[in-house]
Symmetry: C2
Subunit: 300 residues, 2 copies
């Protein structure tokens, strides 16, 4: 019987331990020793953080193909390093100008803007070093496929492009279709890459990869919809950050466009779409099923 | 008879054409289309720029192993994209706060700080996409070796770590050894990676790779020494930018530490070290020989 809570806790602990070991001057290899201040800023921006949902998705997708959790960890770490770098850069004064993240000073507040820019750049770079290491997967062709997948999820047609669209959207009105594209890139692309990287580790055939991509795209939409609904309905106390922030920033969300009831119905439909995409996989996909339901039900 | 000037001109033209084609919304692949503003900023920060010395080094090192220029171009583009992203981020107000680069507004002046951060992030990400593409090299194991090499040159133990050390060095006194380490990382690491990536494309054995690494490390030191000497001796007119800027910024250089005459002698010795490392290679290494001499003789 699959235990979502145990899987999530175990994954988060594994990520924390592995990232903590990896982010050290001794292991960030290159012609010289990585400076302590840079390493400290990289650690500040990536340790003690979050639910590690993206490594969980890598692990759960790989589990469908009987890949043990330990064998999908490095690919999960690489996605998490990309996620963490993006938060460090997004928090900068030039972007969202946030002082706090998860109750702690953001990297540029704990250090300075230059150090935060460089720490983000280094996390982004070393994510690919991790994927290229034979420890990630014995087959170089699989490792290369992971690199390609992550660049597409993280790059100009993915996460970074979505961030750019989000900034542009603050200035003008976006249609519902524009908002959907922006969100599919900004948060959806890395969720999609996580699931597909798990599938690639497992040697998924084209049909399985296609089904898992459909799952990931729907799950990503559900994640974002739930986030937008929470921003409108939650109090600051349950959210742990200022509620109503999107509206205050003039950010365009589907909730603002559709209204709250239609958005809730759309969320339920989207979770069903994600679950339908998994119907051929049997109980080994229970992890991904639980995560899709979790995305829709989370309270913060 | 090897013609350095023709090789450099041809390489720069090939880089310009290929980067121009690659940096388009249609070719920055991902789940969504890359936004035009992001693509335009990426192009602004990487086209019409510079001598393309790093792709030239990739090409010249690969030429030792009879690899045609067209077959080493993509690896060269990847290094150049890393170099260009680093300039975009270094120019930001939080770092060097430069308004002009090569007589044109820097990316954050032509667009804004947020767009410059994202354009740099995207160039960094897509550099690895280029290396992972089968068009770069047919063998996945070679492509993975290129990814590893570039992450080490560009990451916390390489370029980004050197940039961090340089910023820290502005605040205090560095020893000659500290300066050498900083420079070996900040500019040397990517020069080293360029040469080694050319060697990896050529299937260099351990002995050849070791000799070419020795060449690259000496060439990188020569490049930096010449730069430091120029900063002291050149007029603003020949340099095309403010002379004496390092001293004004309190930047530590070996010229300040050693004095100008000792620095010139050290430069001549360093070029000889680079040339000695190539002695087993015969005329096919004339490209790398010419580049080492060029590094020491350049006037701007």
């Amino acid at each position: 019987m699959y235990d979502f809570s145990a899987d999530m806790t175990d994954c988060a602990a594994a990520v924390e331990t592995a990232l903590g070991g990896r982010l050290s001057a001794a292991r960030l290899s290159g012609p010289g020793p990585a400076p302590e201040r840079l390493v400290a800023a990289m650690r500040h921006g990536s340790l003690e953080g979050g639910k590690r949902l993206r490594p969980l998705l890598v692990r759960q997708a790989a589990a469908i193909f009987n890949i043990p959790a330990a064998s999908s960890l490095d690919a999960g770490l690489a996605v998490e390093m990309i996620h963490c770098y993006s938060l460090i850069h997004d928090d900068l004064p030039a972007m969202d100008n946030d002082d706090l993240r998860r109750g702690r000073p953001t990297v540029h507040r704990a250090y300075d803007d230059a150090t935060a820019i460089l720490a983000g750049d280094a996390l982004l770079t070393h994510a690919f070093e991790l994927l290229a290491d034979p420890q990630c997967h014995p087959d170089a062709a699989v490792r290369i496929a992971l690199v390609t997948e992550l660049t597409r999820g993280a790059g100009g047609g993915g996460m970074v492009g979505g961030q750019m669209r989000d900034i542009e959207g603050e200035k003008g009105n976006l249609s519902a279709a524009d908002i959907a594209t922006m969100q599919a890139m900004k948060t959806g692309a890395l969720i999609r890459a996580s699931v597909r990287m798990g599938a690639l580790l497992g040697g998924a055939d084209a049909r399985a990869l296609s089904a898992l991509t459909a799952y990931a795209e729907a799950a990503g939409r559900a994640f974002q919809l739930a986030d937008d609904i929470l921003d409108v309905t939650a109090t600051a106390a349950t959210l742990g950050k200022a509620a109503g922030k999107d509206a205050a920033l003039g950010k365009q969300t589907l909730v603002a466009t559709l209204g709250i009831e239609a958005a809730r119905q759309h969320l339920a439909d989207t979770v069903n779409t994600a679950l339908s995409a998994l119907r051929t996989f049997g109980p080994r996909a229970d992890g991904l099923r639980a995560t899709a339901r979790y995305f829709a039900s989370r309270e913060h």
